[in-house]
């Protein structure tokens, strides 16, 4: 895996407000990832993206820029999209994290957004796709989709795709939103 930042340090304890942790210290965190409880010990500088990928093996979350522009690393924190490359692992102590691996049902049934991305050719190389799926899932489940093409594009801004020219992604977003709306 990707290094030893989050490996189990048996002596690690939950964060204490009065303690000054050194870069080599480990802090115990407890969180829920895709519905499963996770306990880990992390370095204070470990990025959430690296924690998910390296320590939990959830490599579906991709890292495209590490400065918050591309959106490939987008995950949900307590139900809200966030950049995992701009979040320290220690900051999500006590939170619920959802990644692309948690989108499909436990029986493997694809989320409507996942299906729509395939049906509308919303992906090519697939590298940006997990970030788009997380952003669009939140959009269609929680926000009102814009009526115009320009409006939908504005709602999709914040995630970069270098392959598709966004046509398929716009179409997939509309299709998924329509399906979710039709189910009420």
């Amino acid at each position: 895996m990707n290094g030893n930042h989050g490996t189990n340090h048996l002596d690690a304890e939950p964060v204490d407000g009065d303690t000054r942790y050194g870069p080599d210290d480990r802090i115990a965190i407890s969180l829920t990832v895709n519905g499963e409880k996770v306990e880990a010990a992390v370095s204070p500088r470990l990025l959430l993206s690296d924690f998910l990928r390296g320590d939990l093996g959830l490599t579906g979350t991709h890292v495209g820029c590490e400065h918050g522009v591309c959106g490939a690393c987008t995950v949900h924190l307590d139900g809200v999209p966030a950049r995992s490359c701009l979040t320290m692992a220690v900051q999500v102590d006590g939170m619920e994290v959802r990644t692309v691996e948690g989108l499909a049902g436990s029986d493997g049934t694809l989320h409507p957004v996942q299906r729509a991305f395939r049906e509308c050719h919303g992906l090519q190389c697939g590298f940006c796709t997990p970030g788009f799926l997380m952003a669009v899932t939140h959009l269609v489940e929680n926000e009102e989709l814009a009526e115009t093409d320009d409006g939908v594009r504005a709602q999709l801004a914040g995630n970069l795709c270098r392959c598709t020219g966004y046509m398929g992604i716009v179409a997939a977003t509309r299709r998924a939103a329509a399906e979710i709306a039709s189910k009420g």
Partner: protein, 290 residues
């Protein structure tokens, strides 16, 4: 692009945070992390200590009483933007905040973090400058209130002392009937502004401009009030001629340099147009109960 080594503290209370701040030689504050973490990842910042405020619950508050919208520094930007009581008292806040990056950034980004970061192209510092907002700094020694006009000193530089924390940001509410508008232009959606402008406009009983406030971002080392244009507008009939002239005064009042985002000439041209535009829209919204 991994963060450098640092010492890390996540205090439970503001008092604890202030203590750490006072004890630390070279500390930075981790609020929402949306500006700080990129600078750490690029290793443009190499702080000795990172003070993580996520556990200081007392800083995530919004209080809309007494003519001021008092926002705790750890309030998420998205929370402020979507607060209906805030919208009712000062709709300019929401209009301005919609220009801040993208919703996914505003979900994590905090009001205090953005203000203390003091990027001269960013929106909240411009809004505070425009509205004559106030900032509350605290240290172990006590609190002090700093007017926005004195808070932003230079690029990424504020009046905060090393041992102080920004704890509260206060936005004045708009006067009844006061018109308002904000607009910025970024080459790509959600990016930092090439330039932006905000305006408020209060008319007198004769329909003339009683008070115009104008501020701009992206055109100097701090957000700036466009005083010459404000002065010129006082007592004047609102209209396209006056607003175009104000835009030209604004343009002439700022000097910028060429950078990768824009030439200086273009940026000043842009500012004049934006000023004209926000004044026009503010005028359309002005009036109502007086």
């Amino acid at each position: 692009m991994k963060p450098p080594c640092y010492e890390y503290v996540a205090p439970d209370t503001l008092a604890g945070a202030l203590r750490v701040r006072a004890e630390s030689e070279d500390s930075v504050v981790l609020a929402g992390g949306q500006s700080l973490v990129p600078t750490l990842n690029f290793r443009l910042a190499n702080p000795d200590t990172v003070i993580d405020l996520r556990r200081v619950a007392e800083l995530a508050t919004i209080d809309t009483r007494d003519g001021m919208i008092r926002v705790g520094a750890m309030t998420r930007q998205r929370t402020l933007e979507r607060n209906d009581a805030v919208l009712a008292r000062n709709p300019l806040i929401r209009e301005t905040m919609e220009y801040i990056a993208h919703p996914v950034i505003r979900n994590r980004g905090t009001v205090g973090g953005s203000v203390a970061h003091a990027d001269p192209a960013s929106e909240l510092p411009c809004l505070l400058t425009l509205l004559d907002g106030e900032l509350t700094a605290r240290s172990s020694a006590g609190a002090r209130t700093i007017p926005a006009a004195e808070f932003f000193e230079f690029v990424f530089t504020t009046a905060l002392e090393p041992e102080e924390l920004l704890v509260e940001v206060a936005f004045p509410v708009l006067e009844p009937g006061e018109g308002w508008a904000f607009r910025e232009f970024a080459r790509r959606h959600g990016d930092f502004a090439v330039a932006g402008a905000g305006a408020t406009l209060l008319l007198d009983d004769a329909g003339r401009i009683a008070r115009a406030r104008l501020a701009a971002c992206g055109v100097a080392t701090t957000p700036v009030r466009l005083r010459a244009a404000e002065e010129a507008l006082r007592g004047v009939e609102p209209g396209s001629e006056a607003f175009r002239a104000a835009g030209e005064l604004a343009r002439d009042a700022v000097t910028t340099v060429d950078d990768t985002a824009a030439s200086a000439d273009y940026r000043r041209h842009l500012l004049s147009g934006l000023v004209n535009d926000v004044l026009t829209r503010a005028a359309a919204r002005a009036g109502g109960p007086r």
